[in-house]
Symmetry: C2
Subunit: 268 residues, 2 copies
């Protein structure tokens, strides 16, 4: 399995695993986004991963390419966060290589990333002045000489996916370690996902519902792990409240990609 | 969406649609074959479809390539029948083009196809003397000058996928028409699948359980359509009896491929 295929397999395995509280999974659609949307994006992203693996290329334009390829369906942005992690991982091979990709980003990567961002409906935090719909933001990026790594550092306090770029892909690495520890296949993915959810407030939840809700979700996941709460009940509660841990799903995809490269078995 | 992507989308949409009586679908795994196996084959078959679209090539060796690419997991042969239909469709573009591909097959295509067959655990009918595990079969093919179209004609009375090669992809065409008639998305796929199941005995069921069981399954599907039988009950009955209409699933994949090329909408 080459790197591009590993990235696609990681996207497919993450969305197929269940039950994953609150998220689209094999047994649950969101009102506007269905399983098929996630799997269509998995198929259609291939040329961006192929380009990253075969020809190298710039991380900013490759993220933009992945978003463009997967933007054609009605399910909205299914994998923007996942691409932010997978593109440097495919370019660099593993977390070590991805760190070097991050360190080498420049202002053009930042400008391309902003163009990609503008294609999505991902919300920025209210405090952020670099509005992707504001042409002045691109001018500001150029004026300040901000690289894409600088942009991620700017977003890191409010966005755990961006934070991966600043901390050497620490949660991605932890997710891969959890997968190895939990054994093979679907059950290990669900277990690793829950471990992350029980230990980190999901910043996608925080942006949508506030940090208090993200922290409450984290405590509920911990209660599932210690047996005080039923997993399927927790899933149903998240779904009815519209709480979906999308950032931890993105990190889980990146963790599966890394683990597959280290011999972790999806098929058991 | 190019042809290769359409082929992959068709494979993904077919297995994601539910409930499809007896088959692996979004909500049901078979003991040895799970949703992830079907989706992994969907991802990993891409280079065979790309080669068919971009470079043309021989239909026999491309079917062999698709089987080789998707043979690495424990889920067994998930899409052999689908590849027999999709490879000529991707090579030729549509059913008209696929007919020309079939008409142009030669002895080397037949030999390559036998090599592909040998990689799978697909069973042949008892009456068949061209045993894929018997080297004498390849010698016999060469001696008789049988093309791959001849091989398919030989299997057609017992195999509805092979029969598509002999009748100009008639059921594939009918499935595409049914999809157009039923509207868009997942529900149309389930409806078209049931229409086919209610009108044709599935030869995969016939090989495994006998023609009587295939015909009884057909009558049960017709009862679902006229309201005399509940779809989910029928699904449960098929699952518990190990009855899976695998050949009609293959034809449904081919029908989705054709319909997508004619503007049918999977996303609604």
């Amino acid at each position: 399995m080459n790197r591009a295929e590993r990235a696609q397999m990681a996207m497919m395995l993450e969305v197929s695993a269940y039950p994953k509280p609150g998220n689209v999974d094999r047994c649950h659609d969101c009102p506007d986004t269905r399983l098929e949307h996630f799997l269509a994006s998995t198929i259609l992203a291939r040329p961006a991963f192929d380009a990253a693996e075969r020809t190298g290329g710039r991380v900013g334009s490759l993220i933009r390419k992945a978003v463009q390829l997967t933007n054609g369906h009605s399910g909205g942005n299914t994998h923007f966060g996942a691409f932010i992690l997978l593109i440097p991982l495919v370019l660099g091979g593993d977390t070590e290589g991805a760190r070097k990709v991050v360190a080498a980003t420049d202002v053009e990567d930042a400008v391309e990333f902003y163009a990609a961002f503008g294609l999505t409906s991902v919300r920025m935090g209210e405090s952020e002045d670099l509005d992707v719909n504001d042409p002045a933001s691109v001018a500001a990026i150029r004026e300040r000489g901000m690289t894409l790594a600088d942009i991620m550092a700017y977003s890191a306090p409010r966005d755990m996916v961006a934070r991966e770029w600043t901390n050497g892909f620490a949660l991605t690495r932890r997710c891969a370690d959890l997968l190895h520890a939990h054994g093979c296949g679907r059950e290990a993915i669900v277990a690793a996902f829950l471990d992350l959810l029980a230990s980190e407030p999901d910043t996608f939840i925080a942006k949508k519902h506030g940090m208090e809700t993200a922290e409450r979700t984290m405590r509920c996941a911990a209660e599932v792990l210690n047996g005080a709460r039923d997993l399927r009940d927790f899933d149903a509660e998240c779904v009815s409240a519209g709480i979906n841990p999308g950032s931890i799903a993105d990190i889980t995809i990146a963790g599966i990609y890394v683990a597959l490269g280290e011999g972790w078995q999806w098929d058991c």
